[in-house]
């Protein structure tokens, strides 16, 4: 149990998938303009990542290894992730149409999001078993969601301050991301 807690703290704070490993920038900058979309996106990513982590692990262990085709790992994972994201998109569209509108183009972009593929591969590389993979995926996604929510909170306030013209928009977003990443690097050595 303690291991799991440590793993989760590591995944959320110390090795934050976005702020430390720098995977998953696109939806980070694109969706973090308002709190509602950020939380929605965060939840969507948690759902996708956990499921994806689980299914890719199973595909790897029960299909790729027995058939000696580990080299097809990347293709197989992407196939699974793409299908999964499509599935999630359908579910979101049916159950939460407003969220679907708000996320817009960024929901299907999770497919190509390197964070998802990254976590799936880290699971394999670091040799986690199924339960650990699930926890790790969930925690990484939670870290992603945390970073996203933090960013949205800050960016919502940008509308009220006087930003110099050359910095408006994405520029100040990236600068802020860098500063948050710097702050998070303070967690190094925690675990």
């Amino acid at each position: 149990m303690a291991d799991f807690i440590l793993l989760m703290i590591s995944a959320i704070l110390v090795n934050n998938i976005l702020l430390a490993r720098f995977l998953g920038n696109c939806p980070f900058v694109g969706v973090s303009r308002s709190m509602d979309t950020a939380t929605g996106m965060g939840l969507a990513v948690i759902f996708v990542l956990t499921l994806a982590g689980m299914i890719t692990w199973m595909v790897h262990t029960y299909l790729l290894i027995p058939l000696n085709i580990e080299y097809l790992r990347t293709i197989a994972f992407i196939l699974v992730i793409a299908a999964l994201v499509q599935f999630v998109e359908m579910v979101v569209r049916k159950t939460a149409p407003d969220l679907y509108e708000a996320l817009g183009i960024y929901l299907p972009l999770i497919t190509t999001n390197c964070a998802v593929l990254g976590v799936a591969i880290i699971n394999i590389e670091d040799g986690y078993d199924l339960i650990t993979s699930i926890f790790f995926s969930f925690a990484s996604a939670a870290g992603f969601a945390l970073a996203l929510v933090l960013m949205a909170g800050i960016r919502e306030r940008f509308a009220l301050v006087d930003i110099p013209k050359p910095f408006e928009g994405t520029a100040i977003g990236l600068v802020t991301a860098g500063l948050i990443a710097l702050a998070f690097s303070g967690f190094a050595g925690l675990v």
Partner: protein, 682 residues
Amino acid sequence: MLAGMLAIGGIGIVAALVLGISSKIFYVEVDPLIQEIADTLPGANCGACGFAGCSSCAKAIAKGKAQPDACLSGGPDVALSIATILGVSIEVKEPDIARLGCWYNIEEADTKFTYDGVRDCRAAMMLFSGSKVCDIGCLTLGTCVNACPFGALSMGEDGLPRVNESLCTGCGTCEQICPKGIIRLTSETRRIQHVYTTDECTSPCQRACPAGIDIPEYIHQITVGNYTQALKTIRESNPMPLTCGRVCPHPCEDNCRLSLQDDAVNINHLKRFVSDREMHAPERIGVYKAAPTGKRVAIIGGGPAGLSAAYYLARLGHSPTIFEAMPKLGGMLRYGIPEYRLPKATLDWEIEGILNMGVEVKTNTAMGKDFTIEGLKEEGFDAIFLGTGAWDSRGLGVEGEDLEGVLPGTHFLIDRGLEKDTPVGEKVAVIGGGNTAIDAARTCWRLGAKEVTVLYRRSRKEMPANDIEIEEAGKEGVLFHYLAAPTRLIGKNGKLAQLEYIEMELGEPDESGRRRPVPKEGSEKIIDVDNIIAAIGQFPVTDFLEKDGVSVTRRNTIEVVDEQTGRTNLEGVFAGGDAVTGASIAVAALGAGRRAARSINQYLGGEEVAVPDNAVTAHSDLPTVEELVSVAHSDRVKMPELSVDERAMNFNEVERGLSEEMAQGESDRCLRCGLICYRKEG
């Protein structure tokens, strides 16, 4: 190998099955309209429309939150398809095109310094506003060229950016990025309503023109042989170039920079040249006309002010109706200017062109008698323009004015315009020094008078008539008595027989700055006359306007809040032309009509009726040039005219018009001036 393929294939099939089943379970009803619109859109998800992706844009269009032409990269074709799907007619808004407002590159313009260290105009701006002396000059470093997202701008060989009109979408990126505001979006609709500002490049002639014609541009188009475009440029500011090309006293030429060393460019006759070509061509040149707005405007007065206002309002999509008291349109152009200066056939052709834009006319309808302002508003007119002109004349105020044979100047010429018979005797005296007096004198000569004398109370220098008119009158044998004023009219049997006048000398200046004439005691003289024509001034008639509540000044002109907008004290009522300024020249009325059309357009669109704060006025302090450097001397072309013998006893047009060769030679003389730039040699 096979295992791999099967494995991947297997995953794919399983995924497809799962997705297929879940798509049935999680089925979402999509509005087919949105689907159809989304299919028409390019699907690039570029975000130029401002929405997150093409599907959001489609949804917004279907809900009505976005216009059918929201897709910028799709362009007009996509906009048209979407409009067809929605079942609305898309009013093709005139596309905005970027246009550069500077014509001199770094080599040709005056520069303060040379510095090659900057590669971007915005950076160059931070270095003493760039290397050009002129505050407004293009810095030619190509920031706009790089910024254009559609690749419509390129650097020309002359060092200035060139716009590819077929690629330009009017997005405005170049306008936003240019640090000097040189490259701007423009369209015919915008240019019709344009008022020159101090932050754009204008030439002295352009600013002197009361109608604001872009003179260097149209002369340039003549030089390259593009007569159609030259005429379109003129018509953006002046709808009556045929008329002005014949009668205008050309304030532009008085301000021509070339006159610093040679004679001014013959701007006016070049205008006549291109407009004559259209008159003799098989078809009229088409201009852009906006989609109908459904707003009706009543134009009181069919003279140049009213015709100009009607023309531009029609071009902007409104529905003007002209109410004219006389039997025909034209105002003073028909009922004041004689045939040999402005043939009626020419005037009719020009007016027909204006009416073709979609103007309704009601002649023989006088305000006060047949309708009132209140009545018009009740009839459903959304705005009113007053262009009633200055038709009242004054008597001489001397004994004997009621004798037979005394003709008030305006009535004489009005009768000529009405094509009535106006016989005159052998000896005619015309009192006055303005164009009306000269017109009357030259008309009498053509009607057979043997001796025509013009009496003017000041000297030749103070005479307000056009110099060319006075010269031509002299050639035709009209005699001039300067410093003479009538004192008594002597009759025989109720008919005028003699005129007594007194000699004057010039004393102190009066309010207009001209020296006041003072009679010389005991210097009365008597001459025999059969007719006297008094042409000593024209004034607006305003009593019928005052009855309707229009505010009138002490000088009996319509009071406007400011001359640039033409607003009166009444809501929705605008005024311009002679009725506001007092008797003036045709081009001033044409300019006032255009500015009133601009104001009325703003008013009807619910916008504030105003001109820009930095609009150019007579008091604007703009940089200029005192002396010309490196400009070759050149002679001004002379307008061919009928000889005096050919003119006698007929009203044929005296000026014959320039040939193409003469026009080309003259347009070459133009220096294409900017604020301080001009074409130098070498």
